[in-house]
């Protein structure tokens, strides 16, 4: 499966039971180096359990997992040295300043003192907190805390950065700025990013997504392919002679088109790739084109038979959801 180099994360037959409850039921996947890999699923699907096993906080009941080439059970320290973590809940010391939190981390990870000042400045500038480094973390906003945690996770140049719900509980504007940092990060550092989310729109930023439901991976592919797998894209064109266009589509591409919303409308797999062909081969001028895709919500629905929101409603975390629902 990996294209080049060893996989950054490689998991086979991974199972985790808590007493009688099987939280993760034998999953298998590999993450390529340099990829942004997303785990998508409702709360209680087993995402956090999986991430905890990958970052050596939880022992697998069965199966193996390798991170950065090291076994999470046998080479625990090696794994830890090579990963950065941003947890779902904040893990900062509010009494310390941002800089002191980073220094604490650097000392625990044994970051050489000779490079520490430069590195610290770099990660703090990356997340835009250099000017705030002396302030106590207590005074930071939720978004700033999360950014500081990302900076901290990067401080020791990990090969794989784990982000467990990096944007949960943040407002939409902060969420999108966090995503900007994550994408900048990939451009700046040689790093693989493994993340979980239950926001559909965020999963779109990933190179590939595994959809997890009730402890199993039900689908794994690029967001585009997943969506293509569900249904076809909807393409709408306007032309000078719509009747002729419909006939031409049937004749040249074997597509059944019809008029809808005042445009010639048809469904086709990977609509964007189809558009150049359409222009080249339709044999008549096209005035406008629009391609709309099925959303990841449709994808999730097609694999699990339920929307992510409904799935959450029935999960074990109903209490938590109830709390969150109230504050919404």
């Amino acid at each position: 499966m990996p294209e080049d180099g060893a996989p950054a994360v490689e998991v086979a037959g991974l199972v985790r039971r808590f007493g009688a409850v099987e939280a993760v039921r034998g999953i298998e996947f590999a993450v390529r180096p340099g990829e942004i890999f997303g785990f998508l699923g409702p709360n209680g699907a087993g995402k956090s359990t999986t991430i905890n096993m990958l970052c050596t906080l939880l022992r697998p009941t069965e199966g193996t997992a390798r991170v950065a080439g090291f076994d999470v059970v046998r080479d625990r320290d090696e794994v830890r040295r090579n990963i950065g973590l941003v947890f779902q809940d904040p893990t900062l010391d509010g009494y310390l300043s941002g800089e002191q939190n980073l220094r604490f981390h650097a000392e625990l990870y044994g970051v050489p003192r000779s490079v520490l000042p430069d590195r610290m400045r770099q990660v703090l500038e990356m997340v835009g907190l250099w000017d705030k480094r002396g302030d106590r973390v207590q005074t930071y906003s939720g978004g700033m805390k999360r950014r500081l945690e990302i900076a901290r996770g990067l401080l020791h140049s990990p090969r794989v950065l784990f982000l467990d719900e990096p944007t949960v509980g943040l407002d939409p504007q902060t969420r999108s700025s966090i995503w900007e940092y994550i994408r900048d990060l990939r451009a700046a550092e040689r790093i693989t990013i493994f993340m979980t989310t239950h926001y559909m729109d965020e999963a779109e930023y990933c190179d590939r997504i595994a959809i997890m439901d009730s402890g199993r991976i039900v689908a794994l592919d690029t967001p585009q392919a997943l969506k293509a797998g569900v249904g076809k894209d909807r393409v709408q064109i306007t032309t000078d002679d719509d009747e002729a266009a419909i006939a031409a589509l049937a004749e040249r591409f074997g597509l059944a088109a019809a008029m809808a919303e005042g445009a010639v409308t048809f469904a086709v797999a990977s609509g964007e790739e189809f558009v150049p062909r359409l222009f080249a081969e339709l044999g008549m001028p096209i005035r406008s084109v629009s391609v709309s895709r099925p959303s990841l919500d449709d994808v999730f629905m097609s694999f699990t038979g339920t929307t992510i929101r409904d799935a959450e409603g029935s999960s074990k975390d109903w209490m938590r959801m109830a709390m969150r629902g109230r504050s919404r």
Binding site: D93, F104, P112, V115, D184, A188
Partner: protein, 304 residues
């Protein structure tokens, strides 16, 4: 081992400058020591920043020393009547070592409790997932807690004059050393408990439950001679007894008293009539401290 390389930024929009790469070294003693140091350092920073804690930690000892000490002195003075110098002991002087021990005990327990706090606020996770041995985290926490408690104890030492204890530099150093040792053992105890207890409320509930009897059975507030057998036995099983007694002996060795008074107020700790030497008491406290810390390390290693 500590190889570092800076490679040129690859079209990175971010840092503009070269990406500073860090190579995290193999685990080693040096690395573990750095971890111990930073965990300890954090305790000190937090203590330094938390003035409330410093002040509130003083309230109880000062109450004991000045209010209870003064109040009960009256009672004693009435019973004994005045006399020439050296013929009576101010109760404040008597309980001063006990108050030192109490201060240290409360502060040490509070420091250990911060582990439960860290767990609730997630910071413990940041420590537990680091590529260092869990022992270095526990050791750092124990020494850090002991240092903070000793600092708090030093503030009480500043009040020595009020209790009629001379400001003898050697004595003060002795007391500081003994307090550190006791604080270390107590933090070890607290950390051991904190490894198992997941909520702040139950931790402090339990601590309260453990601390009050420990204090009352330690000789902090009354001499340990001539007690009924049941009480004698209980005090001898209390580790705090062996932390308080050297403190008292250190203070009383600096006072000019009649041998008779010294015997009454500073009887030492006896096992079946044999007076336990200070050296052995110190050794006992140290061993208990190390043993508790050992258990704490095992517990933290086991926890996932």
């Amino acid at each position: 081992m500590t190889t570092t390389e800076r490679d040129e930024a690859r079209a990175g929009r971010v840092g503009a400058g070269p990406v500073v790469r860090v190579a995290v070294p193999e685990r080693s003693i040096v690395h573990d020591l750095r971890a111990v140091k930073i965990v300890l350092h954090r305790e000190l920073i937090r203590y330094g920043r938390d003035r409330m804690r410093m002040v509130s930690g003083l309230v109880q000892p000062v109450l004991w020393l000045l209010v209870m000490g003064t109040g009960l002195s009256n009672l004693m003075a009435a019973g004994r009547g005045g006399g020439p110098a050296g013929s009576h002991v101010d109760l404040k002087t008597f309980i001063f070592p006990g108050v030192c021990a109490m201060t240290v005990m409360f502060t040490a327990m509070f420091s250990a409790g911060s582990i439960v706090w860290d767990r609730e606020f997630g910071f413990l996770r940041e420590m537990l997932v680091a590529p260092v041995s869990r022992s270095s985290i526990v050791v750092g926490k124990c020494i850090g807690g002991a240092m903070v408690a000793t600092l708090q104890g030093a503030v009480i030492l500043a009040l020595a004059g009020l209790a009629g204890v001379p400001y003898d530099p050697v004595l003060l150093l002795e007391l500081l050393g003994l307090m550190f040792l006791g604080a270390f053992a107590l933090t070890g105890f607290g950390v051991m408990m904190a490894a198992r207890i997941k909520s702040m409320q139950s931790f402090f509930g339990l601590m309260q439950m453990a601390m009050m009897p420990m204090m009352f059975l330690s000789g902090a507030l009354y001499p340990l001679a001539g007690l009924p057998v049941w009480l004698t036995v209980l005090t001898r099983f209390n580790p705090l007894t062996y932390a308080v007694d050297p403190l008292r002996q250190a203070v009383f060795s600096r006072l000019s008293l009649t041998p008779e008074l010294r015997r009454t107020f500073d009887p030492g700790v006896t096992w079946w009539g044999w007076r336990v030497p200070v050296g052995l008491e110190i050794l006992l406290v140290l061993l208990i401290g190390l043993a508790l810390m050992g258990v704490a390390i095992i517990e933290f290693r086991r926890s996932e």
